[in-house]
């Protein structure tokens, strides 16, 4: 046989082997106007609401399920699976009335017992739920009858309703758990009570949700099918949006934001969210242990306005408080130097730096750790130069892989200054303030103030919301005066939304339920 012929045969064989001929998959890219294509920046680790953890999983779960309470497109609390509720005068007992017509996606009636079943599973150690302590202030949840659910609290928890919008508190269908065991969260098996039901899931690629015909508000749900495309690269997601393959992106690329702004125009949605970007100090070791002057000096020498304008540049706001603005029933306290000009801050910072015993001859030796990421690197470089110019020391930048940084922060052995952030779980100052309580596991700085802890305790006991608020604000003031961390900026949510998508609302929690959206007819 001639070699050329042989080679061609081999090639043909390879082609057939690879199955290109038969690879036309059954995925139907029909351009039907009721299909919504959304980007999702990471794979949900699970669609079992008790095994899920990430924001991305919660995004999908909010389309699939529904708690007692829900949010409108613009972030106001609204009735969910419960159509109404009463609160006792001492704020300790909530009685929820479920919608009589509420059903599961398989047609079964949704009853109060299903909420009780879910919370029992949530707190059961065998479930190994990430949010096992999410409802720790709830002392009892009981079904009065099929449609009445009573929640008894150990102490007033004014943000309870906000908690009850979280997927960790959604009801569960006991029948499908009994039948499927731990594998119930699979397409075709997952029984949910929200506007959509999961029909397909290709790990690493795509989740497909279709309208739940049994949902109580199905008549007002416009979009028939929602596809979540798992796209971890911002630039890839952006390309797909521009190619017309996505209606909504989960993010916007950071490196060419100016171009995006110019091209996208009105399609770009930037809005404040409950999310802080900060640098933590390791307060358990020198040089920051018992050294508030030094901590204050470093914090003051950072020009936050310059950072958000020149480095992040996507509409972020400089952070002079710990709790972000926009939290319900709260006015964040400001850092002591917030009212000064940067010039004045720098001078004061130099004085404090000198008082702490450092000088040009004896400069501070410091390492700043941050995880891999373009923005993180740029911010670290900018802060390095600010500290150099204002205080005259050279901080050593240490770039670490995210999991390495997290482990180092947790160990509190070699860290000094490190990058971190915190995202509010619900719309209340508590979700930010409680992580600096001395016993809180998320207290990565190791901040321990008896006064602060006591103020938070007092706040937690208050029935009167305005008094509670005063305690919380006072707690924040006390904490900020200790400088346990450097608030840098408050994040914004960044989405691209095609003009054909109607019903989009910006909100501080960055929740965007598909059921609130609709698609305008193409021109």
């Amino acid at each position: 046989m001639l070699p050329a012929v042989k080679l061609i045969r081999i090639l043909l064989f390879l082609m057939v082997l690879s199955g290109i001929v038969a690879c036309g998959s059954s995925e139907d890219a029909s351009s039907s106007s009721s299909v919504l294509n959304r980007g999702l920046s990471a794979e949900p680790e699970s669609l079992d609401a008790h095994k899920a953890r990430s924001l991305q999983a919660a995004d999908v779960l909010r389309d699939l399920g529904e708690g007692l309470v829900s949010f409108t497109a613009t972030g106001e609390l609204t009735a969910g699976a419960a159509e109404s509720w009463e609160v006792s005068d001492d704020l300790l007992t909530y009685t929820f009335h479920l919608r009589p017509d509420a059903k599961w996606s398989n047609g079964d009636a949704l009853t109060a017992e299903h909420f009780v079943f879910a919370i029992n599973r949530l707190v059961d150690p065998a479930t190994a739920a990430f949010y096992a302590q999410f409802l720790e202030d709830v002392s009892e949840m009981k079904a009065i009858d099929d449609h009445t659910l009573q929640v008894v609290l150990a102490r007033p928890t004014p943000y309870l309703l906000s908690l009850l919008t979280h997927p960790a508190t959604f009801p569960m269908h006991p029948g499908s758990l009994a039948k499927q065991g731990e594998n119930f969260a699979r397409p075709g098996d997952l029984v949910t009570n929200g506007a959509y039901v999961l029909t397909a899931w290709i790990p690493g690629s795509l989740l497909t949700l279709v309208r739940n015909e049994h949902y109580w508000n199905n008549a007002n749900t416009a979009i028939d099918e929602v596809r979540y495309h798992i796209l971890s690269q911002e630039t890839t997601e952006y390309a797909r949006y521009r190619a017309g393959e996505l209606d909504i992106t989960s993010a916007v690329p950071s490196d060419n934001f100016e171009e995006v702004k110019r091209v996208a125009g009105q399609e770009l949605h930037i809005a404040p969210v409950l999310n802080i970007y900060y640098y933590g100090y390791n307060l358990t070791k020198p040089p920051f242990k018992d050294n508030p002057e030094l901590r204050q000096a470093l914090s003051m020498a950072i020009d936050r306005e310059l950072l958000v304008e020149k480095v992040t540049g996507r509409g972020e706001t400089p952070a002079y408080s710990w709790v972000p603005p926009g939290v319900d029933n709260y006015e964040p306290t400001q850092l002591s130097f917030a009212a000064l000009t940067q010039e004045e801050r720098n001078q004061l910072a130099q004085t404090l730096y000198a008082e702490a015993g450092y000088s040009a001859e004896n400069p501070l030796q410091l390492e700043l750790r941050y995880n891999t990421g373009d923005t993180h690197k740029k911010i670290a470089l900018a802060i390095q130069s600010m500290w150099r110019e204002v205080l005259g020391f050279e901080v050593v930048l240490v770039n670490e892989e995210f999991q390495v940084l997290l482990a180092n922060i947790r160990d509190k052995e070699i860290t000094q200054v490190f990058r971190s952030s915190w995202i509010g779980d619900y719309n209340d100052a508590h979700t930010f303030l409680n992580i600096l309580q001395s016993k809180n596991a998320a207290n990565v700085s190791g901040y321990a103030s008896e006064e602060y802890d006591a103020l938070l305790e007092r706040a937690a006991e208050q029935v009167d919301l305005s008094r509670r608020r005063l305690y919380l604000e006072e707690a924040e003031r006390v904490m900020l005066a200790d400088y346990p961390a450097i608030p840098i900026y408050f994040y914004v949510s960044k989405h691209l939304v095609k003009p054909r998508v109607a019903g989009w609302g910006d909100n501080v929690l960055d929740y965007h339920y598909s059921q609130h959206l609709s698609l305008k007819a193409e021109q």
């Binding site: 036309g24 995925e27 150690p125 690629s205 690269q233 630039t235």
Partner: protein, 307 residues
């Protein structure tokens, strides 16, 4: 023959075991764990989750547990894709990676060899220079640059092809990833073929063939082709390796749910079982292929069996 086969199969077991041990140790040596997150868990919750996945046990105990699962054919659950087992993820990812790799290899051979031959025949011509220009750029521009450029041109601007994988229908979605993956190999193979074809065309036996009055087509097909592609054949091994590693980037850029993507994500997320599973899977595959080749030698060459 049976004895020889048996010996070889048994001989592969220690190799595989060594791979498992090393991979296990390396994965666990990386700092951080699968459940570390910026949103730090309450202490009790964290301890409970560690216990649920047996991560609180000493490493030897964890290894024994893993090995015993492995012996029963169980690669364990994924820590990051908690609704899936590692075996399920490999089953869903490998066919895609294989298909991409095979298609890219086929394309690279087809285009690389033919453009190399054409360039060799028209040595010094405009066409030759163009082919070589593309070959040099193809080799020097990395995959992560080529991919977005192709997407920008063909998907965003011209809108001929889908920009991504998920939700796209039919074979069109393979085109850009396969081209991206094949491009550096096309370039390399074209250069190899051209150089060796020029060498061959200058040899005495080709001159003799010409003197006998044979046409160019016949000379190339009958006499020159076979010796000219020998260097290409010996390059196939490195090419396959390059395509395997290249597919990691391509799968990431195009969002293709293949093994490469799972591997990268698994490593970043400290998804111990997923990374281990993929390493063991590839190791087994390579060992099995080597074994098959050796056994084939045994069939062809009786002297091998005698040893």
């Amino acid at each position: 023959m049976l004895r020889y086969t048996l010996l070889r199969v048994l001989g592969a077991i220690p190799t595989l075991l060594l791979v498992v041990v090393l991979a296990f140790l390396m994965v666990h040596a990386a700092p951080g764990g699968p459940f570390d997150d910026e949103r730090v868990l309450p202490v009790d919750v964290a301890a409970n989750i560690q216990a649920a996945y047996h991560l609180d046990e000493p490493l030897p105990a964890q290894f024994a547990r893993y090995l015993s699962g492995l012996l029963h054919g169980d690669l364990g659950p994924s820590y990051r894709y908690r609704d899936y087992t590692v075996a399920e993820l490999i089953r869903s990812g490998f066919p895609l990676s294989l298909r991409l790799g095979v298609l890219a290899m086929a394309l690279a051979l087809l285009v690389g060899i033919s453009s190399g031959i054409v360039a060799a025949l028209r040595q010094g011509s405009m066409l030759d220079r163009m082919v070589m220009f593309f070959a040099v750029t193809g080799i020097s521009i990395p995959v992560f640059v080529v991919a977005p450029l192709l997407v920008l041109l063909f998907a965003v601007n011209l809108q001929w092809l889908p920009a991504g994988w998920s939700g796209a229908s039919g074979a069109a979605k393979y085109i850009l990833p396969v081209i991206t993956l094949a491009l550096p190999q096309i370039a390399y193979i074209a250069r190899l073929t051209r150089a060796s074809m020029i060498d061959v065309l200058g040899t005495d036996f080709i001159r003799t063939a010409r003197a006998q009055g044979l046409g160019t087509k016949v000379i190339i097909r009958v006499h020159a082709f076979k010796p000219a592609i020998m260097p290409v054949l010996s390059y196939l091994g490195p090419a396959i390796a390059a395509i395997l590693t290249g597919s990691v980037v391509v799968e990431e850029v195009f969002g293709i749910p293949g093994l490469g993507q799972f591997f990268v994500r698994g490593a970043l997320n400290r998804d111990y079982t997923l990374v281990l599973g993929i390493v063991i899977f590839y190791a087994t595959l390579i060992i099995a292929l080597n074994l098959a080749v050796d056994l084939l030698y045994g069939v062809i060459d009786p002297r091998v069996r005698q040893r």
